[in-house]
């Protein structure tokens, strides 16, 4: 499997980098260069935006029939997390028993292995979500402001320009 396809998305998959339309304040994840609400009026006004990594579980399912690469993980939980910033995203819910997962539970992001391209291929890492009570994961609000400052800059298509 080509590495570039996954490498391209790492600022969003590792660090929860989204985008925000400064015309209407709508937040996007994954990031995009054009606001679907403002259309052309948003050109040049959609900037990188850092998600803080906290959210509420909107729905979930315990998967028993896996795609290839996920066989040893079953049963695992996939969920739709509504981030505090208003966007929803899809991710695995971890660090708790499937039977303890509930709609409405508060969760925060953790950095985990998602899949591997076989025994010799690249390993893919990204966000998953754990209960808020986990001793791991999440970021303090003050720090994410520093992160936002670090990623400010123009969007380059669907993602921010790589820092020089």
């Amino acid at each position: 499997m080509a590495g570039a396809r996954f490498w391209r998305e790492k600022s969003s998959r590792y660090n929860g980098l989204g985008a925000k339309c400064h015309n209407c304040q709508k937040v996007f994840f994954p990031p995009r260069a054009l606001c679907d609400h403002c259309g052309r009026e948003s050109m040049g006004k959609v900037k990188p935006f850092q998600l803080k990594g906290m959210g509420t579980l909107h729905s979930f399912s315990v998967v028993h029939d896996p795609p290839r690469g996920f066989e040893t993980q079953i049963p695992y939980v996939v969920g739709l997390v509504e981030m505090d910033e208003g966007v929803k995203l899809t991710a695995q819910i971890v660090d708790c028993e499937p039977r303890d997962v509930q709609i409405g539970m508060r969760v925060k992001d953790v950095f985990r292995k998602v899949r591997e391209d076989g025994r010799a291929g690249v390993i893919h890492y990204a966000y998953k979500f754990a209960p808020l009570t986990s001793p791991h994961g999440g970021a303090t609000p003050a720090h994410t402001e520093a992160l936002e400052a670090a990623v400010s800059g123009p969007m380059d298509g669907a993602r921010p320009k790589q820092k020089a």
């Binding site: 998305e9 994954p30 909107h58 729905s59 979930f60 399912s61 315990v62 998967v63 028993h64 029939d65 896996p66 795609p67 290839r68 996920f70 066989e71 993980q73 049963p75 695992y76 996939v78 969920g79 739709l80 966007v87 929803k88 995203l89 899809t90 991710a91 695995q92 709609i103 998602v114 899949r115 893919h124 990204a126 998953k128």
Partner: protein
């Protein structure tokens, strides 16, 4: 004067795990049945549309339109042959594309086929290919399969409206009961509520009996300009309304995951075009790729209020003999779901109902029918209104 479009011929293969027939074989069988039923010659066909989701992933084969045209014996006439893809709404979309071609005056008679050969790959590969209709980078990458996304819709629907597991199961029970009356259905046996509820889990709360199977099969229609259709066919069926609508590809981008706004929009357009109201619909084939999908369908089409689809499933209203029989063919669940063929198969069933030819499962006096075909988790929806003399 505006051109109208009718259906003058239908053909369908028996859906199932058809080990000894290839995609070409299945396409040919359905096409021959349809053209025979239409009583036209291949030289009368002006164009071919083929709805198919993923021959590339199932068979390593792209560019299938000329392949089917060749096997159908019409490649030599150099007619335009087009492959149409919208995940499991490929069939429904192919009908609309063909309909547009005739309405625009480019064609008079068009063959529309839909097919899928899903069992030449293993189950895990088939599941992944089926799941190719979801967002690969932001849903599938994380381990979300198509059934797990529908499962999340189900769980949210249960959370928001109190829909129960039993209500979901009623959809499967009803459709299997219908399938038992359909000689072309993949599954011809009834299932009990208990069996559905205690089936092996796929993605909770959905179990094996909540999910349409992997199937091989093909179906075809011959569409004809209406004035000519009336002359050629004994019992032409008119397409009085066609609606197509789209939505975001990914489920997470939706404001409310318990509704398919594409279905709502497509239904509004189709009904408006046909001049019909919901109360006029006497029989419908809706997209029950999962039991929850049929519940969403009856709500989003407007047959039930949002949140009451579960009650409707439980009430018996949508079973044969009820107020509005839905999926008399057995639906995707029992009739089978060769992805690209489904949208065509739905039309075949409604045509047979409107002709009075749905032996054993006839809705008496049916004159107005509806088909509803969805791609993936609702990124595409097609609704057609069909009418016959009854």
């Amino acid at each position: 004067m505006a051109r109208e479009v009718g259906i003058i011929g239908v053909g369908i293969t028996k859906f199932g795990e058809v080990w000894d027939r290839s995609l070409r074989d299945l396409g040919l069988e359905a096409g021959v049945k349809a053209i025979t039923d239409a009583n036209v010659a291949s030289s009368d066909i002006d164009a071919l549309y083929v709805g198919i989701m993923s021959p590339g992933m199932f068979l390593d084969q792209e560019h299938v339109a000329p392949l089917i045209a060749d096997w159908a014996g019409i490649a030599g006439s150099h007619i335009p042959a087009t492959r149409v893809e919208a995940a499991d709404a490929s069939g429904g979309l192919a009908i609309r594309e063909a309909w547009m071609g005739i309405k625009a005056g480019l064609y008079d008679i068009v063959m529309v086929g839909g097919a899928e050969k899903m069992t030449d790959v293993g189950d895990e590969e088939a599941l992944e290919t089926l799941s190719a209709s979801v967002d690969q980078e932001w849903e599938a990458f994380f381990g979300a399969t198509l059934p797990s996304l529908y499962a999340m819709i189900a769980r949210r629907h249960m959370h928001q409206y109190g829909t129960t597991r039993e209500q979901l199961a009623h959809v499967a029970v009803k459709n299997h009961m219908h399938g038992a009356l359909n000689p072309d259905a993949q599954f011809q046996s009834k299932v009990s509520l208990d069996a559905v509820m205690s089936a092996v889990p796929v993605a909770e709360p959905l179990g094996v009996f909540d999910c349409a199977p992997f199937s091989d099969g093909a179906a075809a229609l011959v569409l004809c300009e209406w004035e000519r259709a009336k002359k050629i066919a004994e019992h032409p069926i008119k397409i009085t309304g066609s609606g197509q609508a789209g939505s975001s590809l990914s489920l997470f981008a939706r404001k409310d995951i318990t509704t398919f706004s594409a279905t709502r929009a497509a239904a509004e357009k189709a009904l408006a075009m046909s001049g019909r109201g919901l109360e006029d619909i006497q029989v419908a084939e809706v997209h029950d790729s999962y039991t929850i999908a049929e519940i969403l369908a009856v709500e989003d089409l407007g047959f039930a209020k949002k949140g009451e689809g579960g009650k409707m499933a439980e009430s018996g209203e949508t079973a044969l003999g009820g107020r509005l029989p839905i999926n008399t063919s057995g639906g995707l669940k029992a009739r089978g779901h060769p992805l690209g063929a489904t949208g065509i198969a739905q039309a075949v069933e409604i045509v047979q109902q409107l002709r009075g030819k749905a032996a054993g499962r006839q809705v008496k006096g049916a004159r107005v029918g509806l088909t509803h075909n969805v791609g993936g988790t609702g990124g595409t929806a097609l609704v057609h209104i069909l009418e016959g003399e009854g």
